[in-house]
Symmetry: C2
Subunit: 350 residues, 2 copies
């Protein structure tokens, strides 16, 4: 448990799972916001739904963004990242996307939201249907001070009543609907979308995720300079997911796919090496739009505190179309350290 301070907020944050308290659980004055549980992944659809579900399940779109929990605390509406940090960017933008009448009526509830789009401070990838900025997609509702989620119908009702933006709902499926789900996945794959989350329509809150084939190649592509910074399993698992998806759906690999994968791996590494040779560090650039300039400044302070002072570099903060647009760079520390060592003739044992 860590005392965490971001701007004027000071609170306790569980940085590890502790008994039933999930990682990312936060205690702020008398408010406790439960961590968002990890969702397991299947890599085969037909056998996966048969093995994982006992009842019919709802199928919702899985959005390629970052997971936040949004809640009301006194007079403020705050957004917590998965690990339980208050995010100045997401908090700044809540009122652009979420009808705050929801929290006036139901201050006891917590919205679980995927924030996605090209202009965000965390993710490299973003859904192909978001051309700029970000969008919010509610996918679950929790209660303050409690684990677990509102039942599906109650959630849908609230989303509708308050006109909250939400993930696409593809409907309710049975365990025998593997074929229909595979058709849905092939369509999402064609459209470059990430995949689905399946939620059993029962009291046990069983959830399982499953992604399309192409998103795995895209995940590797968008890593760009960061490819050698990721855990090594990142790439190998995605290749495995891709191949299992293709094999189950009888899609033969093509030379174009091979080339695309090979290029992502080589070009990202080469780009990082060149930057390290020229600038002695490897950076990734981010850009995001704030309503309040003060929140952009808080975002920078917060990132510096979290990642280390020399690891974040502000490139620009200026007004543009009603926004304070922040551009900054994060150093990729492992890549930078390893590449500097190697470029100066350092030795490795393996």
């Amino acid at each position: 448990m860590r005392l965490t301070r971001i701007g004027n907020w000071e609170y306790l944050r569980f940085n590890h799972k502790f008994k039933s308290l999930l990682e990312g659980t936060v205690s702020l004055d008398d408010t406790v916001i439960w961590g968002y549980p990890k969702i397991g992944r299947i890599l085969q659809l037909d056998t996966g739904i048969a093995a994982q579900f006992e009842q019919p399940f709802w199928v919702e779109e899985k959005i390629d963004g970052y997971n936040v929990r949004i809640f009301r605390h006194h007079d403020e509406i705050l957004a917590l990242t998965r690990r339980g940090y208050i995010c100045p960017f997401t908090t700044d933008r809540v009122s652009d996307f979420i009808n705050t009448a929801f929290f006036e009526a139901r201050p006891d509830l917590v919205l679980c939201v995927e924030v996605a789009g090209p202009e965000n401070p965390y993710n490299e990838g973003s859904p192909p249907f978001i051309g700029e900025d970000v969008r919010f997609f509610v996918f679950d509702i929790m209660r303050q001070g409690q684990p677990g989620f509102l039942p599906h119908q109650e959630k849908r009702q609230l989303l509708e009543t308050y006109g909250l933006p939400n993930v696409a709902l593809f409907g309710k499926y049975q365990i025998r609907d593997g074929k229909a789900l595979r058709d849905l996945m092939l369509q999402l794959d064609d459209e470059g979308r990430e995949g689905i989350v399946m939620k059993e329509d029962s009291a046990q809150e069983k959830r399982v995720k499953y992604v399309t084939g192409r998103i795995n190649v895209r995940d590797i592509q968008v890593s760009e300079r960061g490819i050698q910074q990721l855990p090594a399993e990142y790439v190998m698992h995605r290749i495995l997911r891709l191949v299992l998806f293709m094999e189950e759906n009888d899609i033969a690999p093509t030379p174009a796919l091979y080339q695309e994968l090979g290029e992502s791996l080589i070009a990202g590494t080469l780009d990082a090496i060149r930057q390290c040779r020229e600038q002695h560090k490897v950076f990734r650039r981010y850009r995001c739009r704030f309503r309040q300039r003060a929140n952009a400044e808080l975002m920078m302070r917060s990132l510096r505190r979290l990642l280390g002072k020399g690891q974040v570099r502000q490139r620009r903060l200026s007004e543009e179309g009603g926004f304070a647009v922040l551009e900054f760079e994060k150093v990729l520390p492992r890549t930078t350290g390893l590449f500097q060592h190697l470029l100066t003739g350092g030795i490795v044992f393996d």
Copy 2:
């Protein structure tokens, strides 16, 4: 330290480094054979030789095989693997490649040998210039009961006197000879050879290895079905080595290279998944030629003991051109376990 029994041999084997005793050190009756030390790797040639060496250094070819130490014990000549197991295959074949008069004259010495070729029981890759069977390449000489190596000239003298097969010697280079070494590396790269080991011509036994770019793609290709079995770093490090080699030598990546890399990763994984679906296990096949049928049988017993009974499967053992030809398969246990779990709809958290 482990008591190790292979056939009629029983001995102590250091399965971890212990003080100055390297991993793979072996104590057999009154004979101690020192472990072969790990050699560090540079990934940049020009800065690497400047950073690592203080004196001129000998440059020898690095052969893509497995490392054994060959020594005389009473009336037998035995071969130890890197980890200190007596290898029935290598032991069986010593007299085909090594003039045993060497050990009659110098029973106190240990030959450090790379065994390489398509028909070997351990490695997937092999040098392009070995079309069948294996070959032995002496690259160092140690003394029984002592760490360290004979000096370069003494080694060369013995190799010549006894006509021992050895790795190519490319000559003595200075720290300022980066350009000449890069030309040598480009030639080895063209020929599909692995690289070089540089050995400082001084008392401190400083050694450094450096490999060509293409060998990294080849390493991934030859992994075939085993690609998901390897440590995840295996692939990412090889991509890094490849890209650093290309960048230092101003070689631009081509679509053909991208395609080759992408295909190796995808095709190997797909092949392993298909085999697991059909046979419920993922196997790799090996073939090697023995002089004595009893040694082939001992090899199988020894592999079963080392890897586990169900993990090795003999496919064939028959006479062919004066050899007892053994074909066997090893199960890839991690890949098999993971793929079985996933194919039957199992869930993973990541």
